[in-house]
Point group: C2
Chain length 256, copies 2
Amino acid sequence: MNAFDSSPTKLLMCHKSLGRPDDDERREIDALVTRVRELEPDEVLAHQMVETHLSAILTDGLLARYVVGPNGARQMVSLHLPGDFVDLHGMVLKRLDHEIVAMTPARVALIPHAGLEALIAKRPELARKLWFLTLNDAAMHRSWLYRVARTDAYARVANFLCEMNLRCMAIGASDGRVFQLPVRQQEIGEICGVTAIHINRILRLMREEGICTFRKHVVTIHQPGKLCTSGQFNPDYLYYDQALIERFEAVKEVSS
Amino acid sequence: MNAFDSSPTKLLMCHKSLGRPDDDERREIDALVTRVRELEPDEVLAHQMVETHLSAILTDGLLARYVVGPNGARQMVSLHLPGDFVDLHGMVLKRLDHEIVAMTPARVALIPHAGLEALIAKRPELARKLWFLTLNDAAMHRSWLYRVARTDAYARVANFLCEMNLRCMAIGASDGRVFQLPVRQQEIGEICGVTAIHINRILRLMREEGICTFRKHVVTIHQPGKLCTSGQFNPDYLYYDQALIERFEAVKEVSS
DNA sequence: CGTGAATTTGAGAGCCATCAATCTAAGTGG
DNA sequence: CCACTTAGATTGATGGCTCTCAAATTCACG
């Protein structure tokens, strides 16, 4: 199954009733896709401060957005899974304040801003849902900000893994305990604001404690409850429906 | 001069041509204000996860938004100056993922979401500008994230002071060198992810170096160029008009 | 099986948190 | 006018988390 077989918007805003487009709206967005682009790992989709006229929906793979400093240091500000409208905000901001890069082989459906503008004008309720989507991203930024500023390296990694676990659950890519996370330790470091070397030590500690294992790009959470507690994970900021949250909580109950 | 004398939207999106409402639009927003609320320091305007039906434009004073953890630690995620539409995103998100608090005596103009919804339906171009405003906030979150994750305490404080200087310039509250910053060192710490004690040492260092002085809630920047460089300050993320940026840069040229 | 990338481990240094105490400024009441 | 009070600022000493540098090991892949 790939983007050619199915609707690019199939997973858009899954389990977010405040933002999920209905079938009609999704069909209309799908119709706007002018091109599907394949990306290789480390290929840049959008550059800082370069004006664009396209936005992208991720259909396969993993994308990241990052701010880069004068010394070349990267700080990831967002990670995107299939179904995410990656740079919708680019339509409104015109120029982005950050870079967007593929972390794995990826596929995006490209939508011209002009088409989206027209659709939004026609369908105000959809405009509201797309707005919601971009604000959800902002809420995630705030959570990341708290994580980096107020917790230690162990908690940051734990929190990050909890977030990815839940987000993968939302798109059917996790059962609540096991999911693919195709990133290097270097990149986990760039997400959590920690060096890759220290990430390695944290992961070893989690493994030795029997809480969580990260091996060959697969995360296995042995003690979801402990991981959430260590990471101070509160999923409110993801704005998922109650039903998904309950499924997530249920996994914690079943002790491994 | 207070909010009763003048339009609450007078300063809205100053020097941001992508988001600045025109006079007509501003008048229509002003007409939606149903109440003006006075806030005392530390008074909370909006609580986490409580549904609201009002949004607020700040007309006087200083507000902050913060995420609070299970242990009570606060991380500021945003600071608001007069003219900011503080919680516009609350209209779309319904429930906020953070708290909003007054840092000084403050005054906000309250606008019911219902009225704003109606206005947006009537004026799509305004909707776009308001959307821009909320995305500008997100861009600031990303900058704060980089700051906290990738720079040391000295650079964080320097960067923060540069940001506040420019934002104050935008609303006529700074000449590029001197501006009011009515916050305690404790709060600078909660913004920069550093303890108040260490903030104190950083400020002393900046004072001793002759770069910047913070005294009695007044910031005096003696060497704007050095402060910007130390703080890796790049104002792109604020999306100000070129004219303002040029004025800001011009201040650096004039060596003190 | 060779080669480079990624992971893993160790040792030492540094930045910043924590704890504790002093100092200053502003307000209060006698 | 001055003792008293309190919040905030300031300074010192100590410790710990994490970075940096360096080297060894494992892994991916042709």
